[in-house]
Symmetry: C3
Subunit: 307 residues, 3 copies
Amino acid sequence: MRFAKKDVLDMESLSVEEIQAILDTAETLKEISTRPIKKVPTLRGKTVIHFFYEPSTRTRTSFEIAAKRLSADTVSISASTSSIAKGETLVDTAKNLEAMNPDAIVVRHRAAGAPHMLARIVEASVINAGDGMHAHPTQALLDMMTVREKKGSLAGLTVAIIGDITHSRVARSNIVGFNKMGATVILAGPPTMIPMGIETLGAAVSYHVEEAIKDADVIIVLRIQKERQHAFIFPSEREYAQCYGLTKEKLAGAKDDVLIMHPGPINRGVEIAPEVAEGPYSVILEQVTNGVAIRMALLYILLGGPR
Amino acid sequence: MRFAKKDVLDMESLSVEEIQAILDTAETLKEISTRPIKKVPTLRGKTVIHFFYEPSTRTRTSFEIAAKRLSADTVSISASTSSIAKGETLVDTAKNLEAMNPDAIVVRHRAAGAPHMLARIVEASVINAGDGMHAHPTQALLDMMTVREKKGSLAGLTVAIIGDITHSRVARSNIVGFNKMGATVILAGPPTMIPMGIETLGAAVSYHVEEAIKDADVIIVLRIQKERQHAFIFPSEREYAQCYGLTKEKLAGAKDDVLIMHPGPINRGVEIAPEVAEGPYSVILEQVTNGVAIRMALLYILLGGPR
Amino acid sequence: MRFAKKDVLDMESLSVEEIQAILDTAETLKEISTRPIKKVPTLRGKTVIHFFYEPSTRTRTSFEIAAKRLSADTVSISASTSSIAKGETLVDTAKNLEAMNPDAIVVRHRAAGAPHMLARIVEASVINAGDGMHAHPTQALLDMMTVREKKGSLAGLTVAIIGDITHSRVARSNIVGFNKMGATVILAGPPTMIPMGIETLGAAVSYHVEEAIKDADVIIVLRIQKERQHAFIFPSEREYAQCYGLTKEKLAGAKDDVLIMHPGPINRGVEIAPEVAEGPYSVILEQVTNGVAIRMALLYILLGGPR
């Protein structure tokens, strides 16, 4: 397949063929990270700028490692040290970065749509590393890769997503992605955390975790943003854990070969019990490993060939 | 030309021949950043330390990209994470860095003269990336490169610099640099922002922007440091914009082929109107592109040959 | 000698032969940093994560330069930008880093034992870059390398360590290390800064600096942590300097060929007089140079061969 896009911004704009091509490429490249010499010269002389307006160890580290294993040069910019502190607009920052001839800009931003705006302005490839509550396509792609590895295919599977759906870009990207690949998505969480009309994205809704996970092949547990507690969206961590936290007891009603996933970092004992996070069904760490592979694949596909 | 200097600290200490050699080298190296493989092995195995006591995305990123495109290894140190938080003197920090055998130290510091002091202490090449209100030679060099590219030569040109001259290291370095290359410099800005006796550096002074830009081949608009507003150096942004901001109206009286420049980041609608910053005369983004080339040239000249 | 360990966590767990192998390797690798091309391809394709929960310019820079001179890829994570801000446990962070297939994790942490815990969890090699008041083995190794270079051997030497022994991981690691190599260690400092029972580690104690340094071949002056002053551990800097600061006057009673060392950054005029820090006996900057060599040696030994 010929990948014609310049950017990877969300799951909506990726075709089924493109998603398959990304997953296939990631599966091939994954092996590089297990070699004694974890490095191929593919992207030698390419410049990748990691531009993180929001702090994120795991995503930035994953992207940086991915770029370096392909031999790209990387430069890392964080909001606190950047010109935005000096009042520069994102458009101006983007144009300035562009003028330094980067090949790709990986961007995380608190404002939904920021990466899309950036992509329109710059010639470099833009990869969305998470924008506001909108999209986190590399997370969805690594989730889908992990499921496909374990289940062979995505079509026909049931994926339950548990937690604060309203504020989750991970949920949004996964709903669209899994749907596109023929899986059925069911959402569960407190009523205050499930937005009205989310069904139009192609997901069923349940307010009971047990019901949502009963037929699930995959359970994606979302991280609770503790800071939202003060907004009275949920009353207490303990209460949340009791009603919506994924415990061994709740899991008793699930399928025998269910996969447990979490985008991390986890709040142990809140949205997920430690023994579930580390239990036999958990593929949480494989998600992390696949994250590097997915990011290598995107850089490889976007920058590796003639365009 | 044989470049005998160890350091690049200010425009005063560079000869006309040295400036020409830097601009010529930068012009040659600029092409590397447009190649599919933007990298040459010239500085492989050289260690460049970027030591920024003041935050600066664009300058640090520009230097880092320059070093990496020449295959140097880079290490980045910022004030907040450094030993100065532990009360170490700059001299001791410098000696310690030196003991790790770097080939170059790129330094930005709030104290004028800090890079000069560093240069006396260490054997490594020191490049001044901006010190206090004193000098910013790489900015002046990239400005001169941009003008020379567009105008063919610098001799005989008139360069207007508009804004807060008093607090601007960019102004200071440009006055000296353009003068040295045979250009005439005229300054304009509020009286409170033009230091007494600046004429001795070789610049004319005007208090009216229209007058200053009338015969200018190049207009360099300086960034207004909003934080100085509280010092009552200027009354309000709106008033500043009206009197000294470069607008389309004020530009009406300028030459047909005038170049508009700005060191960035710009305050849209304050010192420069958006339609001017993005208008046909603006070469602001070419300055950024040339910034990488100038920094490559300096690293190449200082570290690339036997010394 | 075959180095069988996965990690370097403290001096206690290193055998005499292992210490000798590290020092020998460091001596050989030291020369690389003086070459025009300061780089060997030994660790090409290895990933080294520098994980610093406490800020530290010099140690992080030293490790980064060491890794890069061996051609390893490096990723740097600091506490402020990391997931611990999001409440993740160290165990979870470690497992996540591990899932990205690093070859080594260099860790500095305020909690004693954190690197040991990390080492048990991950397959990657862990190097302790300082944990709480517990251990700082790379500092001890570079100190021992510096002494061995100057004195030819460590056996039979007398090493005086002056300062706040109680809170010093440097002291702890040096006591164990020098002892192991056959040197005699004597400690001096205010009674409030020398822990009861420290003799069991194999060190003599004195409360008078002059007495402690009288027969010393090496004097290691420890940094005073000014923040401890508020804890009334010592009354004032001036008083400390007078009683325990290493001055020219106190040095008068020392051996003719004594070596003066300090882990840096120094408080000039507090624990050490400037003329002593820069005097003829001082090897403080050679310690810094050897720091790079020791860290290259550890990375080389742990990652360089088949394991």
